[in-house]
Amino acid sequence: MNRDYARYALRRVLQAIVVILLAYVFTFVVISVLPGDPVTNTLRNPQNGFTEEEIARIVSYYGLDRPVYEQLWDSLSRLLVGDLGISLRSGLPVGRLIGDVLGSTLLLAGSALVVALVLAFAIGFGTRYLPKRYGQGLLRAFPSLFLSVPNFVIGLVLINVFAFQLGLFRVIDSEGGLATFFAAIALGIPVSAQVAEVLIANLDHEAGQEYASVARSRGLGQTGLFLRHLLKPSALPVVTVVALTVGELLGGAVITEQIFGRTGIGSLVERSVTTQDLPVLQAVVTLAAVIFVVVNLVADLAYPLLDPRVRLGGAKPRDKAEVAR
């Protein structure tokens, strides 16, 4: 068992590294091979005010006068020594640009995840607690409602109600605690829907098991049954789902940060897209892929350690796609 697990873990780690490198190459290909030459367009744009000398320096730094595959090779070998390149828009190292704003986005995404989990577990508990006819059906409809609302609409409604009408926070002071909280709600609600869906399905399944009937026949109430018996087996698959929603948190940050006027990875992407800042986009996409791959790797590797049924059964941890669907 231990040997198998080690071999499985090693294979997964290697795959993860390959995927991350490929993500870097993929972004390079998407941006530089598709029609349009963003780099020279940006450099030659008089608004950016590059002198001929600077243009020559940047062009030679990126080797833009050389064939695409050589540029790609250069870009890859720079990545391996940790050099992410220089932003075309600001002329600053990409690593520093990202480092400056990463904390803000991680705080937002982390808070959004907490909001999502609290909301999902509240809904999950509610579906077991509320009587079937009154309220439960409504509660079960919540996840699919959450999934149908564009996250920018949630953000706009929150700002409208809590900032403009109730005056709880100001959009100008975007990094304040309450402002972050509401931004996290806007980002977290669509994520909570996915978690809640899986949680509800698992709770229904576990509640139908014989051990649950036995517990009920011994006189255990809904709350006790939920906390003592249903919660743990139902919550374990949630680990996998949460790992899969990491991408959504990072992607959704582009819109949420724009609406709430926050600086972060999302607003960096937005600015870089309008100026076609290739090195920044490439670095951000790779970073997102790294976070996604690492989180999912950890979740998959931890799963057999968390769930003895998977471990003892000797079965492989669940396939991502199966849990997601």
């Binding site: 941006i31 963003p38 920018f152 026949s217 992607g251």
Partner: protein, 280 residues
């Protein structure tokens, strides 16, 4: 406690199964039919020109004359929403089409050929799934240029990974089936098996995913339009209308009307997708 609680524990027969079409599903189809009509024959629903405004009538609240009110140029918002439907819905269809075709093809080849081809394609799909779909769509659209059709293509590219994975697993499932083995033994060619057995069996899962992805694509394209990566005004995609409306906080309806239309459409699509999965 006891009896009623125990009955709750048994696998419940869902209410929806009694009649084949639950009322909410009927309502969802009705909403989609209306949206489809809006995009095909918008002039049937509104006689007003979505691009021409009456400056004297700006910022009028919803009324019988202007169902969704008017915007900052005195244009009828209902007319703008109705005329923006075609673009919003078609681009989501294009996105799903790209996902089904490209993703389906990748999944089909990976599952059917197997071996190192499968291994290579699997890594490609891993990459597509590892990049957050909205971020991927943003990068692709920035590379192609800011137009609605490019936003649709970008959304389609971001959906390729999911379709490829589902198609591959369906193909693998079918290939191992006994009737496929029987077909081989009877001398069926690979091509025959592919067209006659594998594709029809995989199509149902892919169709269900396509419906789900259609709703998701509407949201992603609305998000791209909201950020200004689609056609500029006077186009009136739903996401763009919401984006313009947010600049006028005193005229709430400018945000709520297009937002409610978007939500109703996506909700209906999701309801139908759920219903398809249940009746499977």
């Amino acid at each position: 406690m006891s009896v009623s609680a125990l009955s709750r524990a048994r696998p419940v027969i869902r209410r929806g199964q009694a009649s084949r079409f639950p009322p909410t599903v009927v309502a969802s189809f009705a909403v989609l039919a209306l949206v489809l009509l809006w995009s095909l024959v918008p002039t049937l629903f509104t006689g007003q020109d979505p691009a021409r405004g009456v400056p004297a009538d700006k910022f009028l609240g919803p009324s019988t004359a202007h169902w969704f009110g008017t915007d900052h140029l005195g244009r009828d918002l209902f007319a703008r929403v109705v005329h923006g439907t075609a673009s919003s819905v078609t681009s989501a269809l294009v996105a799903v089409g790209i996902g089904v075709l490209v993703g389906g093809l990748i999944g089909l080849i990976a599952g059917f050929v197997g071996g190192w081809v499968d291994a290579v394609l699997a890594r490609l799909v891993d990459v597509l799934l590892a990049i957050p779909s909205f971020l991927l769509a943003v990068v692709v659209v920035s590379s192609l240029g800011f137009e609605t059709i490019n936003a649709a293509i970008a959304t389609g590219v971001s959906a390729v990974g999911v379709f490829a994975r589902v198609m591959r697993s369906e193909v693998l499932k079918t290939r191992r089936a006994v009737f496929v083995e029987a077909s081989y033994l009877q001398g069926g060619s690979r091509w025959h098996i592919l067209v006659r057995h594998v594709l029809p069996n995989a199509s149902r899962s892919v169709l269900m995913l396509a419906v789900l992805q259609f709703g998701l694509s509407i949201l992603i394209i609305a998000g791209l339009a909201f950020l200004g990566y689609g056609d500029p005004p006077p186009a009136s995609d739903w996401g763009l209308l919401i984006s313009i409306g947010k600049d006028y906080p005193l005229a709430q309806w400018l945000v709520y009307a297009p937002a409610l239309v978007t939500i109703a459409t996506v909700l209906s699509v999701n309801r139908i997708s759920r219903w398809l999965r249940k009746t499977d």
